[in-house]
Symmetry: C2
Subunit: 98 residues, 2 copies
């Protein structure tokens, strides 16, 4: 009846990160942090988890003397996101919603 929801994606912050990266394709740490209102610590941990899951590619370099972490969604990440959305619809697409 209800398909399981990917626990990696069923988390507010990680879902927001993925949502963002689906539309912009690439974003750096600070931009994601400000867009999601996350704390740096929380964001660091959640990016790591998405990376470990293979949903993100993370590149670290220096920009104007400061470290810069750039994230990009992988095709695996795009697929996972799409599957998650499809699964979610079983939960929220209640008959009779306009």
């Amino acid at each position: 009846m209800f398909k399981d929801l990917d626990p990696i994606l069923h988390s507010q912050l990680r879902l927001a990160i993925m949502s963002l990266l689906i539309s912009v394709r690439e974003a750096d740490f600070i931009f994601i942090k400000e867009s999601t209102n996350a704390t740096a610590g929380n964001l660091s941990v959640q990016i790591q988890k998405l990376k470990d899951a293979g949903y993100l590619e993370v590149a670290k370099k220096f920009k104007d003397n400061y470290p810069q972490t750039t994230c990009k969604i992988t095709s695996k990440g795009v697929n996972a996101f799409e599957s998650y959305v499809k699964a979610l619809q079983q939960y929220v697409n209640v008959s009779g919603n306009k």
Copy 2:
């Protein structure tokens, strides 16, 4: 940018319970348990949480000599569910999905 997701509803099992009760309006413990594939213990805890949040009304009676727990969604629950779905859409309605 991203609205907060009600943590009471942002849980697979609790969301499934609510989804079910939105469409059937009333269901007993066993039916919910089988529909969601939840263990009894987990279900018991999550129903209690939804009740504590005021999202469910829980009635306990006996049916054919056995205890029977019946759940019904409240109007507060319906509202919360609808708000949750609306908030979720910010996360999953990425431009260009058909």
